[in-house]
């Protein structure tokens, strides 16, 4: 029988093991297991010992499969890291684009294999560097981009036709503008769009739920722009990932591993429904959907999360949306180690935390990786700290041998059990979101904000009570004297330079062309048409980011963040 061939374990053997475990508990273990109960971070009880009986009904090909084959639990590519190592993608972002360009080149010169750009808050929130609201934030925590000329300066001399760029645009309203700048920048350098390889973040939850801001677009408009960017890429950018569903920042803001994955996949479901409504087929866009996970300290749970997320995504795409193209069903994801786990006390300890999380990312089958730097509880990393992160990645790649066999924890009774549990919990949470009317409605009502806030509050209480231990903080707390002072990165002053460039730009550009392009963009806001063509025209005319975002703020109106 087909079923018998697939069954991992003979059921008679399972019965035998169950009985054997009973005997072992009574005769060998006795009372040595202790009374304490243990749980994973997501609340799954941890047994002292797992055996085949915990995964007794698993079928190999149905539940695990071979790497590169459905359901992709063991990995999305058949040869995994032997074929291509995960991309070493360390974040860079500070100062004016000319400053940041130097850091990108430094990282590439030292062996980074991809670019990863983070923007300053005025850019993310859609304000020019000379806007009063930008005061104090220009070139801080990220690089400042005001117009196409800044995008050109940022990527000057970077071979974007050969290496991939992650452009961490956060919100859809900024994504559509920055993506247009990237496209026009490439065009001017004579690089065909089909050669552009990279990723935008483009997640409407970053605009409406995870990040807060003085002025926010309503969820339905933000979600529309998210889908516009994905639709545009489906037609024009075959190697571009126009979305990176951001579980990472959900986790950092306050969710557990189950919620992180479930909310991100619920966003992919909402996207697919919307784009199918617009007339696209699932296989037109699903192959370029990508994900972004946060790997915290619960080592095996994080690995199980990565494996489980691939299975859930496979089921959603294959069963619910009836995808035909294999590439539509395989989930690719980037990992960043968990900023939330870094401590300001004894900062060098963070090197150990980040390395362990990075190892979990590899055992979980990540496609690219950023390892946080030890000084990030103080500021953006210094060059020295950034180099330690880069070296940690390289140590994992060439000194540990962990990359040379696929899914080495596959078959571990515990990891397989945990993977199965995570799958169930992720699917349950997706169903819960759908019972709230789907993800857009769940954000609009504030339900999602409450879920995040409740988790953050509970975690802080657990920390204060000592139930959650953090080394050097509430477990063997560092004496002040024991914390060696570290060098803190100071941002290069960028505000005045950016302001001067904006003044010069406004003199230089064709005023009438800018006005015409912005009027066309404004008109498109109120139609069902995709915003991207009008956006590309506006960017080409050197409309500034702030001018573009003002159009959105005026036309879509602002929304009150439902959090008190």
């Amino acid at each position: 029988m087909e079923e018998q061939k697939n069954q991992l374990f003979n059921q008679q053997v399972i019965e035998h093991i169950k009985k054997g475990k009973e005997v072992w508990m009574q005769e060998t273990l006795k009372n040595k297991a202790g009374d304490q109960e243990y749980f994973t971070e997501a609340g799954i009880p941890i047994e002292l010992l797992y055996t085949p009986a915990d995964i007794g009904d698993m079928m190999y090909e149905r539940d695990l499969g071979f790497p590169g084959n459905k359901p992709f639990v063991r990995g999305v590519y058949p040869n995994m890291y032997r074929g291509r190592l995960f991309t070493v993608r360390q974040l860079a972002g500070f100062g004016a684009p000319e400053d940041c360009n130097q850091r990108i080149k430094f990282l590439l010169a030292n062996g980074a294999t991809g670019v990863n750009i983070v923007f300053d808050l005025p850019t993310i929130r859609g304000y020019n560097s000379d806007d009063p609201e930008a005061e104090g934030n220009v070139g801080v925590c990220g690089v400042a981009i005001d117009s196409l000329q800044d995008m050109e300066a940022l990527f000057d001399g970077i071979p974007i036709d050969q290496i991939s760029s992650s452009v961490v645009t956060h919100m859809p309203s900024t994504t559509v503008a920055l993506m247009a700048m990237y496209v026009v920048m490439a065009e001017r350098r004579g690089i065909p769009l089909e050669k552009l390889s990279g990723t935008n973040q483009n997640d409407f939850l970053m605009e409406t739920t995870i990040g807060s801001a003085p002025e926010i677009l309503p969820p339905k408009h933000s979600f529309r722009l998210q889908c516009d960017a994905i639709e545009y890429a489906a037609h024009n950018l075959p190697r571009w990932n126009p979305v990176s569903y951001n579980g990472y920042n959900l986790r950092e803001a306050g969710t557990n591993a189950v919620q992180e994955v479930a909310i991100a996949i619920a966003n992919a479901i909402a996207t697919a429904e919307e784009l199918i409504k617009r007339g696209l087929k699932i296989d037109d866009f699903a192959p370029r959907l990508s994900f972004f996970w946060d790997l915290c300290n619960d080592f095996f749970e994080e690995i199980a999360k990565c494996r489980a997320s691939r299975r859930v995504f496979y089921k959603v795409m294959a069963e619910r949306f009836q995808a035909r193209d294999q590439k539509s069903m395989l989930m690719r994801f980037h990992v960043q180690t968990a900023g939330i786990t870094l401590t300001a006390a004894e900062p060098l300890n963070n090197i150990a935390r980040s390395a362990i999380q990075g190892l979990a990312a590899i055992l979980g089958g990540a496609q690219s990786l950023h390892i946080d730097s030890y000084d990030e509880a103080y500021s953006a990393p210094t060059e020295e700290a950034a180099l330690v992160s880069l070296r940690t990645q390289q140590i994992l790649q060439v000194e540990t041998n962990v990359v040379n066999t696929v899914d080495p924890l596959g078959g571990s009774y515990y990891v397989e059990y945990l993977t199965n549990e995570m799958i169930k919990k992720i699917e349950d949470y997706i169903a819960l979101i759908e019972s709230k009317g789907g993800l857009v409605a769940a954000a609009d009502s504030g339900w999602l904000h409450r879920e995040i806030s409740d988790f953050a509050y509970q975690q802080q209480k657990d920390f204060e009570s000592g139930a959650r231990k953090i080394v050097g903080v509430n477990y063997f707390a560092a004496e002040n004297s024991a914390t060696k002072a570290i060098d803190v990165f100071r941002y290069p002053a960028a505000e005045e330079r950016q302001k001067a460039k904006l003044r010069a730009l406004r003199e230089k550009r064709e005023r009438r062309q800018v006005e015409k392009a912005l009027a066309a963009l404004r008109e498109k806001c109120h139609t069902d048409a995709n915003i991207m063509p009008a956006m590309i025209d506006a960017v080409r005319a050197y409309a500034t980011l702030g001018e573009i975002e003002d159009v959105f703020r005026q036309e879509f109106g602002l929304w009150q963040f439902p959090l008190v």
């Binding site: 003085p214 509880a377 806030s453 959090l563």
Partner: protein
């Protein structure tokens, strides 16, 4: 009955990370204080809200690197409006070497990562004592 301590809590400027501000707000409520959470605001609006609400404490949260510019501005605007009995606190990712400068400019206390709520509550009570007489 003693009047509840009133706290106005804000995310400073454009900084997007609300986790700490919301968690601290909820825990100050647990400690018996009244907390008005403003979300993201700029110094002018924060000061107006603090005056309208009759706040005893203003909490400013930022992980966005704008602490040196916008933090002291809140204190300055309060003083300009003749308010000098409000305790202004900051929290978030703030390099320790910046703390003396913030204190010199009127920020009463800075609570970085790993701060404990009981320390913040204790600090608020101690600070308010000086205005009590």
């Amino acid at each position: 009955m003693e009047k509840k301590i009133k706290v106005v809590m804000a995310k400073l400027g454009l900084d997007i990370h609300w986790r700490g501000a919301v968690a601290v707000s909820r825990m100050l409520r647990d400690a018996g204080m009244e907390v008005v959470y403003l979300g993201n605001q700029f110094p002018e609006q924060i000061v107006n809200a603090a005056i309208q609400e009759g706040a005893d404490v203003v909490g400013l949260s930022t992980l966005g690197g704008n602490h040196l510019t916008l933090g002291p501005k809140v204190v300055r605007l309060l003083r300009e409006k003749g308010v000098d009995d409000v305790v202004v606190l900051m929290g978030g990712v703030i390099p320790p070497e910046d703390i003396p400068q913030l204190k010199a400019k009127g920020i009463a206390g800075v609570f970085g990562p790993e701060s404990r709520i009981e320390d913040i509550v204790h600090f608020i009570h101690e600070q308010l004592k000086q205005f009590a007489s």
